[in-house]
Symmetry: C2
């Protein structure tokens, strides 16, 4: 893991400045000033930028450049940020704290938070559609983004998750379905969009898709483990909230040891799918890092 975390840090040192330079620029000049401010507030909250970084690394893994992946990377961060803003709303998860700061609706009000999410989702497609990329690759990336974010992906998973709060019990298959859609779809899409924008061969693209699927699962298991074991200060958001609302999680279904074993297996699967790629170091390090991360 020491090597892996050195590689992850090197990727972050190289890519975060690239992303931060352009992430909020489009939302500085416009007539809806307060809405732009609300959009920037959540974009600037930071975090590890997992999705855009994975997108760029997947593009590089098949011989593409960071510049080719950048519009996709921005689009993914906009989609992820919109989803956090809407998930935190009182009608959804009702959270006051996100990344150690008050959530968007706490600062700007619910109306503006809904609109800031809507506008970020819209701009995600806008930035990708307007990018000077190969037209075929760009269209494929847009289709993938819609699949990953929409009702067959992230939004659908969030809806099932909301419905699950009123169910008294559901099984591991249903839990996996929810997470495959809610968290997994966009992580897998991040990797696959990078592959497409980098001009991946079909066999590379399906290997990366499978890698993305596996790290999506690992990510969610680790998220559940963290929620069950970490403190609010560790996470920068409310801890133990899953158990508090009687939500089904991997630890609650499999026990903590069972969940840790499932996490290990998912990570192994991810690494296994990278074997055929010429340039796999960073993606391998990220799979290990995501499984062992502290928040």
């Amino acid at each position: 893991m020491r090597e892996a975390s050195t590689q992850v840090q090197a990727d972050l040192d190289r890519l975060i400045p690239l992303l931060d330079t352009v992430l909020t620029t489009p939302f500085r000049q416009g007539e809806a000033q307060r809405l732009g401010e609300a959009m920037r507030y959540s974009l600037e909250a930071g975090g590890k930028r997992v999705r855009p970084v994975l997108c760029i690394l997947a593009c590089e893994a098949v011989g593409g450049t960071s510049a080719q992946a950048l519009p996709g990377a921005l689009a993914l961060e906009y989609v992820h940020t919109y989803s956090l803003i809407h998930d935190d709303l009182p009608a959804m998860d009702d959270d006051d704290l996100r990344r150690g700061r008050p959530t968007n609706h706490k600062v700007f009000g619910e109306g503006h938070a809904i609109l800031a999410g809507d506008a970020l989702l819209t701009e995600a497609f806008g930035v990708l559609a307007a990018a000077a990329l190969d037209p075929g690759r760009r269209a494929e990336a847009l289709v993938l983004l819609a699949e990953g974010a929409g009702w067959r992906g992230m939004a659908g998973g969030q809806a099932l998750d909301l419905e699950g709060e009123t169910l008294h019990s559901y099984d591991l298959d249903h839990l996996r379905l929810i997470h495959r859609l809610k968290t997994g779809a966009l992580l897998r899409t991040s990797v696959e969009i990078g592959a497409v924008l980098g001009g991946a061969a079909p066999v590379e693209r399906s290997a990366l898709r499978a890698y993305g699927e596996a790290i999506g699962l690992a990510f969610q298991i680790q998220d559940d483990i963290l929620d069950a074991t970490a403190t609010e200060a560790d996470l920068g958001k409310r801890a133990g909230k899953d158990a508090g609302r009687g939500k089904i999680t991997y630890p609650s279904l499999l026990g903590l040891d069972g969940a840790r074993k499932a996490l290990e297996e998912a990570t192994e699967t991810a690494l296994c799918h990278l074997a055929s790629l010429p340039n796999q170091n960073s993606l391998a390090a990220w799979a290990q890092y995501l499984a062992l991360r502290g928040k």
Copy 2:
């Protein structure tokens, strides 16, 4: 106007079945059943399908076919429907009734209504990105859709409108800005996307853009006039709500006669921009129809 309404009816008889056949099809098979149901509920609420019809008519006005415009038309109706669902939320306009039926959040709950809007917005881009169209035209249409719907367009206008409710006074320029963004941007975009998908020459495209701008203004003035003069039974939604919340409208700023005069001027402007097009009958009829409509 008799001729105009005959033409509008003929367009509706021809195009509504085409739209209705495909409008909700994508949301019937999926894992998030209740979310799909919420999406279909608002799509099926009907209405005159003004935006998709304008898109198809603009495409035909420059020599294109309805099939070329159809993906754009669907995308526009998805965006419009999402905006109605979110606008009706308690944190926004807080409406219980829309097109004579309970609003989405009244039936499915706020969480699902937010997600249904999110998913429709996402699918709007998805259906257009996946369409078998000329790649250059498709990309231009996607960029236009993002501009019209996003923070420089509809979402930005809705944000300014929300902020306006807390202002004690603002002038005609500010009212025009809000409406140019909130309602005008997507109507103009509808016409312009149709033009682009139909392969409009630059001079045709800018004429149609100007036409779209003018009918957008006319549409909003008539909306304000209707809110001030019609009954709830006429509108299928709450009437007099603008005055009830002390909102600035065209009638409140210009008087009812002044608003009617402004409406007439905007409609004349719209018709004037059509003069150079070979096939302008339907668009001319729609400009007259929108200005005189009863809801």
